[in-house]
Symmetry: C2
Subunit: 281 residues, 2 copies
DNA sequence: CCTAGGTAATAGTTTAGCTACAGTCGGTTC
DNA sequence: GAACCGACTGTAGCTAAACTATTACCTAGG
């Protein structure tokens, strides 16, 4: 909402711009103001305010206030500020959780659902699935392996370049290779993607949109750009990758349908003896 | 807000209870109703509605509507429903992202900030840091290793029981051992925690509150219980663990202060040559 | 059974918001 | 350069919505 106002501000005539500025200056108090009070503090007349509200798809001023109030909440949830030098434990804890949540929310909004469906289709039919990642994304690849293994799929993961290169070169049609890289600018991975492409394997990239890696992958699940490009960036982008893999795993499970929970139960039971029983209350 | 109304409902007299029920029945449309319309559909008089609103710390009906609208937004963000059999790609994608976000938000609210601060203190002074996890939590441990390594700390990670046992047995005062397990009911890990305790090492558990593991760890970072205890549970709990580790890493970085960014820059530069340059626009 | 207290509804008053109308300012064309 | 047209802003008036106060009725207690 505030974003909308900001975008539209330049197209407004000068009285309405005054209203916009007044609202942007302190949106939260505006929700408690009457139309007269707002008009006065913006230095315009009441109908001007009314017209302003209507130009934002509102039925009138009260309606506008409600919409504004709503947007303030969802806004404030995602107001991410970077961690600063003298932050207390409470402050940096909250900031990191908040920006993590904000990033996931951004990812949720920009996920390409069709790409998800396509990738799921490929995975369900795959003869062999391989996850490739380096560095932090290597852990993500290994995690994906665990997850898909639980779902009884022929899966491997590699976090070293040589193995990745060999597997890519030895792949065939029907194999799916998922390459994970936040920046999508690691030369080795781009080359490996091209190599795998040439063998007929299906290559899926989980990476930044328009990155070199994205350009050579036939199917791409894009990860949103993380705002704070400082130290904490790789930490947060990784969570988005993991969540996307969760989505894929879920999609595959659903596609394979019944009879499948039996398999999961088997795994669960196999772990039973390693664990302490849940205490009865 | 809705929660407040639900809690207070039983203390209300019957007319006001009618109002409460009407609102709970369909909160979102109430935000567009006038006091008269709401009174009519609840079958009571207008002042009754007004009194009702005032009893919820509102200045009046319009104010109440705004508060309600606000709470509806934050509520709807976290309404998590489990994935169902015939969900479309769009549906399950959204559900997984939503419940992931909800879980992180829950974690944010229940994080023990003092425990974070304590663990950070231990980590900063640690001679050696070890992360232990098995299965899915093994990936988390390895990821933690990557992260702390970037921050120039003496860190190792193990995802097999034998190595963990040996390292625990060989630990000393000043070593920090972080044990990661969602359920906290894996026998081996509990035994390893006890073993490490006896050597004087500082043992930190990242696990469910009140779990067997939590009980033997002097310091515990608790992970909230995940609602949907079906297939998807381990996937989501893992993200909370990762985020907690992000928080710890950040805390440690802040504590160590300046001079430290130089170290990070060095690492960044060392990766430079493996990457494609960012294109100029 | 009567009285008192509390709750709810109705009516009235005040205030807020919307609409219609008018005037002024600015721009363009003759 | 002047006049006309069009648009934007403000003023005034009306409608409606909400809050307050008063009255009546019901219930509970003495």
């Amino acid at each position: 909402m505030l974003k909308k106002i900001r975008e539209k501000r330049d197209q407004l005539n000068k009285s309405e711009r005054k209203v916009a500025d007044t609202i942007l200056l302190n949106p939260s108090v505006v929700t408690q103001l009457s139309i007269a009070a707002l008009a006065k503090s913006a230095g315009v007349s009441e109908p001007t305010v009314n017209r302003f509200c209507r130009s934002f798809l509102s039925k009138g001023f009260p309606d506008f206030k409600i919409q504004l109030a709503k947007s303030l909440v969802s806004g404030s949830l995602f107001v991410t500020r970077s961690v600063e030098k003298n932050d207390s434990a409470e402050q940096y804890t909250d900031k990191i959780f908040t920006s993590t949540i904000a990033t996931l929310d951004a990812a949720r909004k920009q996920v390409d659902v069709e790409a998800i469906a396509t990738v799921v289709d490929h995975l369900v039919q795959a003869k062999q699935i391989a996850f490739f990642g380096l560095g932090a994304s290597g852990s993500v690849a290994r995690d994906a392996q665990h997850k898909f293994f639980r779902f009884n799929l022929p899966v491997v993961a590699y976090d070293d370049v040589l193995m990745q290169r060999m597997v890519a070169a030895a792949s065939h049609t029907g194999d799916v290779i998922v390459i994970i890289s936040y920046t999508g600018r690691t030369k080795d991975l781009v080359e490996i993607a091209q190599l795998a492409n040439s063998t007929g394997a299906t290559v899926v990239g989980i990476t930044l949109e328009n990155s070199p890696l994205a350009k050579v992958c036939p199917v791409v699940l894009s990860v949103p750009h993380v705002e704070n490009t400082d130290i904490y960036m790789p930490m947060i982008s990784r969570l988005t990758q993991l969540t996307l893999l969760d989505v894929l795993a879920t999609g595959v499970t659903l596609k394979r349908g019944e009879g499948f929970h039996q398999h999961l139960d088997k795994i669960k039971q196999s772990l039973q003896s390693t664990r302490y029983a849940i205490e009865e209350k």
